[in-house]
Symmetry: C2
Subunit: 319 residues, 2 copies
């Protein structure tokens, strides 16, 4: 089934032998380290049961590509394990799913090199391989006291999109920007490549800025302060719910933007990239010394008063 | 959860950064190609619902390692996507599962470098990476007319073990050799390494000798003849059911032995390895010119009469 529906996704570079043998044979370029990451998406948990095959394929691949972006890696190859309910495994569904997967794979020059299909509740596991020049990977553990804190793009889009999808009386259409941001989050591959050798630490925002920045703080043994008024929140997100926008930005997840730290000597480089329009990023805070408190991430308003953020539970569709 | 229960499996070689970042960072050795393979196992389909966590972990890893063996690759790293029913995801289950996984991983010097856990019906997807010297991988498409046909070990053990498990009135114990052969098939990694540069084509026997040899024939555009009396069928398999033994050996699957072809000029090398006890393999037939017939694999008795083999349907537990 993989060979039948997905062969046009297998023509990218570095594949000595693709789908159809006991394993794929891949040529890693000299001087590169391999980055490997795996993610599972379950219907009703990571996407609504009502999602189209194209939406599911797009979201699954984008979410997985985001891990490559966060490591500063160039995506290269992937395998797909697809579990399908018997009723769903028809030619139409698979053709639409494959078209969605192919659209994203081609965009990022990523080749499907293997996989497996089984019967059962709709579940996808993707395993991606990327390459990064040896020693240049972006990791979580490199932040230092005094570093500046940045995010790429806008944050809160994913949570606002999720709110639209789960709000029963919504009147959104498929073309709604926020819906697109949920189903087609744009993996920040180009930003990740530019941040190699510049960012001291990096993570992608999948679980929410507070949670993911918390991972950087823990891995780097530091704390951090976010200035709320600096957070890049889109106008339509603000308008959708002025009361919720800040919480969506801080806790919402599903943005798949990068959160990264920059040491003082690299700041002019980042600021240059931003000013020349080569990097869409914004400074939102700073890295400080580790605290005794359980919460390593503080959020302050413009008067430097600590804000209390109520983190909502993770939203599982229909669970 | 992966970090908590599986960290002692992450200490092997070539891992620059293991579990705990957005991806693992791996050092591929110079002069090596990468082999990537992915397999999904579903409870009730690929193993019985009654299987213990240790049995599930062992079988999942051995089945995936067998793909590395079939490519002549040295296993290096893997990711695990584990979907668990809520009731199953307890500390005791995970500890036993992890112990089973660790036992096999350590035996083959394989490092767990990432993964994901989700809630749902018990399903495992493993993605393995191995290394093979550039150009030395064993593939399906290299068989030529006149090559000799071999299998490693015994065949029919897996199907006989499966029969014992699914036969309701069985009196087997956990220590039964055939039960072990089903739950702990021994991936033929060492045989695969020895066959590099010697075998012209190779595949592992997962779906049955006839089906898997058929893949070699299709990929190589040849046909093949198996001499039934040469098939290495174990005594206990013969005794369990003299009537079924041949069918188990030809169609049963789950053996995870290697089926490989050898050109005339390499025959003395293979025969030397076998005679010195360095390779447990047996010649079972030969490769012939492609036929017009749909079935590229013929089975003959010692008088060269064609045997008709009834291929049973694939056995899914409780389906």
């Amino acid at each position: 089934m993989i060979a039948r529906y997905f062969t046009d996704l297998t023509g990218q570079s570095g594949v000595a032998l693709g789908i159809g043998d006991d394993g794929a044979l891949l040529n890693v370029r000299p001087g590169q380290q391999l980055v490997m990451a795996s993610d599972t998406l379950v219907a009703g948990v990571h996407f609504p049961e009502s999602a189209t095959p194209r939406q599911i394929a797009t979201r699954a691949l984008c979410v997985n590509l985001s891990d490559m972006a966060a490591m500063g890696a160039e995506p290269r190859w992937f395998t797909l394990a697809l579990t399908l309910p018997r009723g769903t495994a028809n030619a139409e569904w698979l053709a639409e799913f494959s078209a969605g997967l192919g659209h994203i794979a081609n965009q990022y020059d990523l080749a499907l090199v293997g996989g497996d299909t089984t019967s059962g509740p709709l579940t996808l596991t993707l395993t991606l391989l990327g390459e990064v020049p040896t020693g240049k990977a972006l990791i979580r553990g490199g932040a230092n006291v005094g570093d500046s804190l940045f995010v790429t793009g806008n944050i809160g889009d994913g949570a606002a999109g999720l709110e639209l999808i789960t709000y029963e009386n919504n009147t959104i259409t498929d073309s709604d920007r926020l819906l697109q941001r949920f189903y087609s989050p744009e993996p920040q591959i180009q930003a990740g490549l530019k941040l190699r050798s510049i960012a001291s630490a990096c993570i992608d925002i999948s679980d929410g800025l507070l949670a993911d920045l918390g991972h950087i703080c823990k891995a780097s043994n530091v704390s951090s302060v976010i200035q709320a008024e600096q957070l890049p929140i889109a106008t339509d997100v603000q308008q959708l719910s002025p009361l919720d926008a800040l919480e969506w930005a801080l806790c919402g997840g599903d943005d798949y933007q990068l959160c990264f730290t920059v040491a003082g000597d690299q700041l002019p480089i980042i600021e240059g990239l931003i000013q020349r329009g080569e990097l869409d990023a914004r400074k939102i805070g700073r890295i400080e010394a580790p605290t005794e408190s359980l919460n390593a991430v503080a959020v302050v308003d413009k008067n430097n008063n600590l804000l209390t953020i109520e983190k909502p539970g993770y939203n599982h569709f229909g669970q």
